[in-house]
Assembly symmetry: C2
Homo-oligomer: 76 residues x 2
Amino acid sequence: MLVRPKAGILDPQGEAVETSLRTLGFPVSRARVGRLVDLELDATDPAAARAEVERMCAELLANPLIESVEIEVAPE
Amino acid sequence: MLVRPKAGILDPQGEAVETSLRTLGFPVSRARVGRLVDLELDATDPAAARAEVERMCAELLANPLIESVEIEVAPE
């Protein structure tokens, strides 16, 4: 599951990375920093797993006001 | 670019997420937390872009002793 700051939302970590990379001589035009959460769970099928992770996002893992979420389901 | 704690390396953020999700009633067997860095840069081709990001990882973005890196190149 990937959590990114939404477009237009301030991303201080991304700005720090951008500045540091430029200082080191890397010509990046933009950097944004988000979170990656790998979850292992038992689920009957991929759709059930996705729905479960969506509930986890709503309750704990992401703030829908400022973050967008991308869920990828990989069967074991 | 995705940065994950290597297997066997302590991941306090992942442990906190795991504990909180279980407390909320989600039956997760494991959670690991890493970083996601989206970078925009000019490069002549995907291989050049990947090599550039590998250099950024070595110099700033990841600690190879405790983190593994996955680089994905998406042409604009």
